[in-house]
Symmetry: C3
Subunit: 333 residues, 3 copies
């Protein structure tokens, strides 16, 4: 039985198989690969794209999705072992995971970091606890990484550029008024490096470098693929010759849990917005973003409305890659 | 591709076709007209009847409904073009509509007026923006009009009275402690006039006359059908000889966005409640209301429990007309 | 047409038929007994197990579940007859029940007591009002009793112990920081006595004895089955020779609606926690609990992780007994 918690546990070939089947499902949408399968979708955080694409995708494969929102529709959950539960939590993850495993054939989970304790957030404890006690496969719908977005991102680039090996890939930080989750940025590094591209990570300063865990993993992937990995704070250098520009805003890890303090330095970096001028320095690059996106803050209308913007296509591909991935997991099971 | 945003864009014949097929579906409930179709139901406001009737109706036709509640389950949405999105909204309608169009075959929307800016509310901007950027049909589940209720209302009257041409139709304002949306009242005027009835609009004073837009449209319909259109503040005159009494409470447009000020004059009009005495002045009229209804405030128990009350039948018909309308839209598409 | 509001209205044989068919459905999960049936699930209170098991179970039988949360997704409802509805409620139960009956083939309801008025809570007025005005069967998903849990509980014990006649059954109060609903405790007495067991009710003091209504019913059942019924406050005596230990926390009826006052005496009874030492005094008893359960407060990790703990099995059985019960109700209809 395999989980889909992080692409780090999946080889490039295994992922390419999922992508290839997704291309297939994009043409032949209605299949029976999830027939008589019930899938629990647990949202600890709100969602539009993810929920809609999972619900419809599961339905199109003959399966059934149940949406649960713990702490809202359901009880708050305890994750610590041996805890004396005299606080707010009403049920332990052991029971939650085991009971859901009685009803569901697969459990998918969205649980954003809480921005209080960096170490805890980067341990991805919540979804790993589910995986530990569940007897059915567990799928990540965004925690500290966002592997479904990774698949959609790669599929979209392959559809537009063919083989990605040797392409120049830019992940650029962009401005947002609040510190956001690093998940998509972490995922961008993991997957772009795994698929054999040269990577530049562009961010305002050392304070915005992503977590060592993902930098190290990306460097290793690039090294074994004979590709380069660079971190830069120079916007012109970052965009130069890029084949792909992927933008994402994230909160500085140096000010983790201190949004007010970070705000002071963050507001100096509004010029990281992706605009037509910056895009003109690239090698006719594709632009994408995982959405939602604040227009004229993260990227200009010009960029969003340009032909080179594939964000909508990438969002649409979410459904196809998820259908493929779920079919794969439940077939293997 | 056609939307179902307002019945003003549909001819009487086209609407009658929807009603006739609804009568059919009421007998032969289970069809495959929505097979492999996914329909996004976006609720910016709460709902019981609408959500249940859409969800079950879609299912009965082989389709699949996804319920989304933007700003609750999902992100707050920006509707202004070229906006610099540095405020609360996290995503632009352009992306929302385009992405949902990737997943769904049709998007249905409930979005009540916000009672802050009359002009904005009556422009019906939210649903029209969705229609502009969506590549799939858009359906109105109540905004500043309520066209699904219109269809259910007409079907119910036809079931009880046959041809409606020349019938005397009374739309009466009724009391409610809070100022309510004019949607069903606007819709009542539009549809009763389109189906060839003589119309009386009964309301407490000039301050409670409905928006010019709908008065004008209703007058024009009545004129081209050679029927009368009258506005009256005289309860006895309003009820006299009516064949149909439709009741609705709404907030005064003269005090738009000022519920406290309106409350002072509104509370003088509690006697507009629909009661047995008033109904006895009619031509054995049917009574209906769109529900929800506060008993003994908007209408008495006597009226609600009378045989001439067809409110439950009208509510039940919501499902059948919606199934017919959705089938029509997706067939045409 | 039959409702499933309380097992008091069902004979042991009728319930055993439901249990036997549930055993069948546990092996042959996918049937068509609810084909073309739509079931409204009304949650006035949050739920995880119940919602998931109902939604998936209904789906596995070819039916369709619509989840509604009145007062959250939908309007607050009035339950008093002849009420002048000038308060918060926007719709009367008469209309709610009749309209839902237009759309749904069965209505299931969760409505916990409000802990304000003991008499009102124990009259089970809300669900009985629905049953009065609904034209379709009404099912209890937990009010002042929890008959679905009863079925799951009995099925689980039968699976482990075979015939339950003459077994020694202990219902023990256990500690929880807040006063909880007595529903599962009431249900435990009703069903254990109906299925022919000797019953001990163990609770800290006279103040924690359950409502006379359920004590009387259980005593009568025990009497007609020639079994014993005892109330004890002595922990050692309670556990001695038990074949089954069922634990539940509930609020004292003597302090109904006064959680602060009750807290003072309640906190003296933390030692009622189910632990390995207590379980060692039994006749190798099974342990169960309806979940959610606060570990190391209501029962220790040792008990929860022991082989004799069948709480997960009981939770899993919820789905099977519910599928059987719904099939029975809609077949009879």
């Amino acid at each position: 039985m395999k989980n889909f918690i992080t692409t780090e546990n999946w080889s490039k070939n295994e992922l390419q198989d999922i992508l290839d089947y997704a291309k297939d499902l994009k043409i032949n949408r209605f299949q029976k690969t999830l027939k008589n399968k019930s899938i629990g979708l647990l949202f600890f955080n709100p969602s539009m794209r993810t929920r809609t694409s999972f619900e419809i995708g599961i339905k199109e494969l003959g399966g059934f999705a149940v949406v649960l929102q713990p702490g809202k529709d359901a009880w708050p959950i305890e994750f610590k072992l041996n805890s004396i539960m005299d606080n707010d939590t009403e049920e332990h993850i052991i029971e939650v995971a085991k009971v859901l495993s009685e009803y569901c054939d697969l459990i998918a989970i969205r649980a954003f970091p809480k921005f209080q304790n960096l170490e805890e957030d980067f341990s991805d404890n919540l979804i790993n606890s589910f995986a530990k006690y569940s007897s059915v496969p567990v799928v990540n719908m965004e925690t500290i990484t966002h592997p479904c977005q990774e698949l959609a991102h790669i599929l979209t680039m392959q559809e537009n550029l063919g083989d990605l090996t040797g392409k120049d890939y830019l992940l650029t930080w962009t401005y947002h008024p609040k510190p956001l989750n690093t998940a998509v940025a972490n995922s961008s590094l993991l997957i772009a490096s795994k698929f054999g591209m040269n990577i530049k990570l562009l961010c305002p300063s050392e304070k915005y470098i992503l977590h060592e865990k993902y930098i190290t993993a990306a460097k290793q992937n690039c090294k074994s693929n004979n590709m380069s990995f660079e971190i830069t704070h120079d916007i012109d250098y970052g965009y130069a010759y890029a084949d792909i520009v992927y933008a994402k805003s994230w909160g500085s890890l140096s000010f983790y849990g201190n949004p007010e303090e970070e705000k002071i330095i963050r507001d100096d970096y509004k010029h990281f917005i992706v605009d037509g001028h910056k895009m003109s320095k690239t090698n006719n690059a594709l632009f994408s973003h995982c959405l939602p996106l604040r227009r004229n803050i993260k990227a200009t209308d010009e960029v969003m409305d340009a032909n080179y913007c594939v964000a909508i296509q990438e969002a649409g591909n979410r459904m196809h890659v998820q259908k493929s991935m779920l079919s794969t997991l439940l077939k293997e099971k």
